[in-house]
Amino acid sequence: MSGDMATFFSVSVIFAVLMICAALYCILATRNLIRILIGMELMTKSVTLLLAVGGYISGQMAVAQTYIITLIVLEVVVIAIAAGIVIGSFRHNNDMDAGRMNNLKG
């Protein structure tokens, strides 16, 4: 029983880590601002997975679900504000190039 749980944990953690790697790669290698937001969302999904796995293993599924629900509410607001920033920046630059976002140097 414990061995099964340990395998489940390891496998889930590996997949979550791979997803985080993919999301970080997306954020670093893209030239489009909206894709950076998509990368942020993917990171949130893998973190949600980790929280769910944590809740399942420790038996505290109810508490983990409250964490996930709170996290989802917070993330929606952050993404909405970030989308607003991206749209505002587009109205200034007329361009979605992430390279433009490197003007402030030093």
């Binding site: 944990f9 949130t44 893998s46 920033i85 991206v86 402030l104």
Partner: protein
């Protein structure tokens, strides 16, 4: 009782948004100021024990037992003072009543978030309120919808999201080992199970996430852009208290409450802190934008605070907390002066400014006070807090780190002297002939903060007891 500090700003925001447009506009600013004054008075009057008594109404609404000790009181005081100053600066730089109304509401929400972070006794609640303060500051940075501000906000959002992901992954991993996220349960787990690789990984992730929020090297990418491109009142808020509360205070809370002092963790904190102190000081030397230089100076001073935290002895943490409070005061003062100069002369470029002190004597004088305090010159408050940190590091055996801290103080003095000479002293630069002193709304906070800096520095023998004793409680 402590939860009132969150519920009252929330109630104020809800009240201010009732559809009575005409009077609410004017009223918002004064309500914001009154809330800050009330918070200051309450902190000074009531001891920590009184804060933990449950208030009957709030107890009915919220089943929550706050964990207020004297460290939290220091933070409440700092939050109240900096928000007060920020509102005054906003009044002078934002002329439109509707925009001031939005600003005040957002600042009150940020204040509620930071108060909540201070009284959280649970790692996840700490994260929730940290996110509240962060979202409020995103919006405040982009407040004037300028091009640079959007860039600064966007960088801050992305790095904050990475920090959030790291902190939450740590919470998820720790949940597999312990069911509860309260600090007591986590301390127990660290005590019994410290060597577990899952716990080690989650501690590393947690520290990494909070280092990003503090703005330490090498996670400092967002700090110069966000601080310099934000509107003046927001820079005061951001540099003065938001980074301190959401990053530094949270780190202090976690490291002390969860008792994370194992050798690799301690070495990591000390190395990152010293790196921040030195690299940021060098970077500040080469800046020509006034606010950008102040941003790098902030990173360097936060490095001092984290150095005190890393040493870990009672004296060191007391020094760190004291330096945190001092930094909130003198950094806010510097940013207030930057706001005045930017508003009056229209530029932040130090190369084109010069001789400002002739026309703006108050700003020049308070700026001298602030930078002497930052560099650690007696008898100002910054000297005492840096002295405590360095002495504590020396006594604990970390001789090299203490030496680095002393040498970096000289660097701090160097770049600030250069700034002062370029901007304030010397001949009046061309184009600045009709420069006037700032309006009273900025002069009052500048004088207030300078008075606090001088007062704390002079009265420290009496106050030393009340700053050291609280730290004994939390260790």
């Amino acid at each position: 009782m402590a939860v009132l500090l969150i519920l009252v700003p929330l109630a104020a925001v809800l009240f201010l948004n009732l559809p009575l447009q005409k009077i609410m506009c004017r009223l918002a600013f004064w309500i914001g100021l009154i809330l800050c004054l009330v918070q200051t008075l309450l902190v000074i009057q009531l001891p920590a024990a009184a804060w933990n008594e449950p208030c009957p109404v709030a107890r009915y609404l919220l089943r929550f037992a706050p964990a207020v000790d004297n460290l939290a009181l220091v933070m409440f005081l700092a939050i109240a003072i900096v928000v007060f100053v920020s509102l005054l600066v906003a009044r002078s730089t934002i002329s439109d009543c509707g925009k001031l109304f939005n600003f005040t509401n957002l600042v009150m929400l940020a204040m509620a978030g930071m108060n909540g972070l201070v009284i959280a006794n649970d790692l996840f609640s700490l994260y929730v309120f940290m996110e509240v303060a962060a979202v409020a500051s995103f919006i405040l940075i982009a407040f004037n919808r300028e091009k640079d501000a959007f860039e600064g906000t966007f960088k801050y959002i992305v790095m904050s999201a990475v920090a959030t992901a790291m902190i939450l992954s740590a919470i998820g991993l720790m949940m597999t080992v312990t069911g509860s996220m309260s600090f007591n349960a986590l301390a127990k787990v660290m005590h019994t199970d410290g060597g577990n690789p899952v716990i080690l990984l989650s501690v590393a992730l947690l520290l990494g996430g909070f280092f990003i929020k503090c703005g330490l090297i090498p996670f400092h990418g967002w700090v110069p852009d966000a601080y310099s491109s934000a509107p003046s009142a927001t820079s005061v808020l951001l540099a003065g208290i938001v980074t301190k509360t959401t990053g530094v205070y949270a780190l202090i809370r976690i490291v002390t409450m969860m008792n994370l002092y194992s050798t690799p963790v301690q070495t990591l904190i000390l190395v990152v802190a010293s790196l921040s102190i030195v690299v940021a000081a060098f970077a500040a030397l080469g800046q020509s934008d006034f606010k950008r230089m102040l941003a790098y100076s902030s990173i360097s001073q936060v490095g001092y605070i984290i150095l005190g935290l890393g040493v870990g002895t009672e004296l060191a943490i007391a020094g760190a907390v004291f330096h945190l409070f001092n930094h909130a005061i003198f950094k806010s003062l510097l940013f207030v002066n930057a706001a005045t100069i930017e508003k009056q002369s229209g530029t932040r470029n130090m190369d084109t400014l010069g001789g400002v002190s002739d026309r703006m004597p108050v700003t020049g004088f308070t700026s001298v006070i602030a930078f002497l305090s930052t560099a650690g010159i007696p008898p100002l408050s910054g000297f005492w807090s840096k002295l405590v940190i360095i002495v504590a590091a020396w006594k604990a055996g970390f001789h090299w780190y203490a030496l680095i801290a002393i040498l970096a103080s000289l660097l701090t003095l160097a770049y600030f002297l250069s700034m002062q000479r370029r901007v304030f002293f010397g001949k009046l630069a061309s184009g600045l002939e009709d420069l006037k002193e700032g309006n009273p709304w900025v002069i009052i906070p500048a004088c207030l903060l300078a008075a606090i800096t001088i007062g704390l520095g002079l009265c420290i023998p009496w106050l030393l007891g009340s700053f050291l004793l609280p730290v004994r409680d939390i260790l």
